[in-house]
Amino acid sequence: MRASGANLVSFVAIGVLVGCGVTLLLERSLIRVLLGIVMAGNGVNLLIIFGGRSGRAPVVGVSETGAMSDALPQAMVLTAIVITFGFTAFLLAISYRSWYLTGSDDVPDDLEDRQIVRRAAHKEVSTADLSDDRAESDPEQVDAPAPRRPPRQEGPE
């Protein structure tokens, strides 16, 4: 339909960025996950850019109408960059908070996984029934009546 700006180099660049991003996303450490999201996000942004026609600056009076690049993908990418920026900042804050609270930014196993591991360790066969009191040691199973507004943790800021 339209001349696209895509070429082999751009596809390789997108592939490498998204590939590295996905590899990093599979890591446990939140910082690596964050880096993965940033890389894959940039790959996606490139993909959008190359989805539009390439050409001269799309300014009326500066370049001819026929030779202009497509301005819409560029506008979309700007929006996407801003959004990725915001989310990156938030994820950075989360991983800092996680490190601050637990001393590491690794994402731990979820509740079901922990229960299965515990059952396997006790060679239990049956699933959860109401007399199962071993789950009491799990912080997510025992909701100690949390204060409505938990006090701020003391520590170096």
Partner: protein, 500 residues
């Protein structure tokens, strides 16, 4: 009059700005946000009446006409969703004010709850009204950004752990959505939904199908459809009660709404029907079996939430008008009732300090009102007549029977068994937490805050009232489904000149 369709987005955003300015003052903050959401509800009601009488309402933002400019489109489906979502967000806001969730405190020095909550509302309403794919993406990001803040409120270790899963999964889903948006634009040169409806028809079938599946994947994660649902029961239960309630009620339904919109408008026909039906069946079954195995009330409800998403996907997968009617009715019912159940759970937690079934007991004797509230909503969810859950399920099952064929019949059987299993889960919770002798979790003697109870009662009553207004509601959902199925009312409203 046309500008009315922009107000449901503008009002909450304006409110968010105002409440941020009033961050240090509790009372004005509350007044502003309650007023904003009440006004949004009023506007949504007017929109519903208007779209029912006169057809879709289109606002061209900045005055640029449709395929070029951004449009907000309020058709019957969008207006109906707006009414339900504003009513629910208003109730939950009152509830959280009653709980004191919204105030500034030692651990959250800036009272961030109100602004974030209003941005979340704006994101939800914008998603319902979005008339082009990229605007839909931005709406999703708005509500996601706000939900990230709400799910990690106060930054406790537990919320940080579950929140990080939620954040990463949802960013990934957004990325897949963004890739699909980029590919759709590269293939067609437009993102306006009505315009796309024309242009996608001209694409080769395989390309069309891959675009459809990409979008389905992105929305499937947001809607928590079975193979993509594991993140939900892991991350929702740890958030504060009102936050879980509004997430459970609305956020997954925004995903379902996006599936309905794109599957009917952009990719009509039964191409993905078999896939949707299989996924719907698995979602129902796996979700409810997960719920059977849980011993924590909040996690249990999260699993039933996943399970009942299956019903809506079932209705969409039938790709008949009757199926769509059932799906839309079910969305309305489920938004109300799932939120109500989570609010009741919040009240249980407020009263006893626990939602663990091993520790709860005798609640019906301690607080009879709580017992009534839970019983009514749980029976409503399970689909006991005469509640709206029964009507919604009946509509879907009838549509399945009418569609005929092996797959719809299997789905009808699965839907019935899921309903029965939901009843089993509900009665298990009822007999353990409410009926047996009081457990070790000691109920506090302090009475529950009136506003919290009032908001919950209002929402449960709304769920019951859906039965009373079922006739008119079915009329509206039928109108919406017929419009969706025909596609032309939407397309002609956005592009008045017909084919551009």
């Amino acid at each position: 009059m046309r500008a009315l369709a922009a107000l449901p987005v503008l009002l909450p955003l304006l409110g968010a700005a105002l409440t941020l300015l009033l961050a240090t003052r509790d009372r004005p903050q509350r007044v502003v946000s309650v007023a904003c959401l009440a006004a949004t509800l009023a506007v949504a009601a007017v929109l519903l009446v208007r779209t029912y009488r006169n057809g879709p309402l289109v606002v061209e933002i900045g005055g640029w006409p449709a395929p070029v400019g951004i449009v907000l489109v309020a058709d019957q489906l969008a207006a109906l969703m707006l009414v339900v979502s504003s009513a629910v967000t208003l109730c939950v806001l009152l509830y959280s004010i009653g709980q004191g969730q919204s105030e500034a405190s030692e651990s959250a020095p800036v009272a961030i709850f109100h602004p974030t909550y209003l941005v979340l509302t704006a994101g939800v309403t914008n998603a319902f009204l979005a008339g082009d794919l990229f605007n839909l993406f931005v709406a999703f990001e708005m509500l996601l950004g706000a939900s990230f803040v709400l799910i990690t409120l106060n930054g406790t270790p537990l919320r940080i752990r579950t929140g990080s899963t939620y954040v990463v999964v949802n960013i990934l889903a957004s990325m897949i959505f963004l890739i699909s948006v980029g590919l759709v634009y590269a293939a067609t040169g437009t993102l306006n939904l009505a315009h796309l409806a024309h242009r996608l028809d001209a694409l080769p079938d395989t390309l069309r199908l891959s675009l459809q599946l990409m979008l389905l994947l992105a929305f499937g994660i947001k809607a928590a459809v079975f193979p993509l649902s594991a993140w939900l029961p892991d991350s929702y239960p740890t958030a504060p009660a009102p936050v879980t309630a509004v997430f459970a009620g609305l956020l997954t339904k925004v995903g379902v709404y996006a599936i309905i919109r794109t599957q009917t408008l952009l990719f009509p026909g039964p191409r993905a029907a078999a896939l949707l039906l299989v996924v719907a069946g698995l979602t129902m079954l796996v979700g409810i079996l997960g719920a059977v195995a849980q011993s924590d009330l909040k996690r249990l409800l999260s699993f039933t939430l996943v399970s009942h998403i299956g019903y809506m996907i079932f209705g969409i997968g039938l790709s008949t008008v009757a199926g769509l009617v059932g799906a839309i009715f079910y969305v309305v019912h489920h938004i109300t009732i799932q939120t109500a159940l989570f609010l009741v759970t919040g009240l249980v937690e407020e009263k006893t300090g626990s939602t663990d079934l091993r520790r709860l007991g005798g609640l019906a004797r301690i607080t009879p009102l709580l017992g009534v509230l839970f019983f009514v909503s749980a029976m409503n969810l399970a689909g006991i007549p005469p509640f709206s859950g029964f009507l919604g399920k009946l509509g879907l099952l009838q549509a399945g029977v009418a569609a005929g064929g092996p797959l719809p019949w299997i789905l009808v059987a699965l839907g019935t068994s899921t309903s029965l299993l939901t009843l089993y889960v509900a009665s298990r919770v009822w007999s353990i937490a409410f009926w047996r002798a009081p457990g070790e979790a000691l109920a506090s003697t302090a009475p529950l805050p009136t506003l919290m109870v009032g908001a919950t009662v209002a929402l449960v009553a709304l769920g019951v009232a859906l039965t009373v207004v079922a006739g008119p509601l079915f009329e509206v959902t039928t109108g919406a489904a017929v419009d969706l199925h025909e596609r032309t009312p939407y397309i002609h409203a956005v592009l008045p000149g017909g084919r551009p």
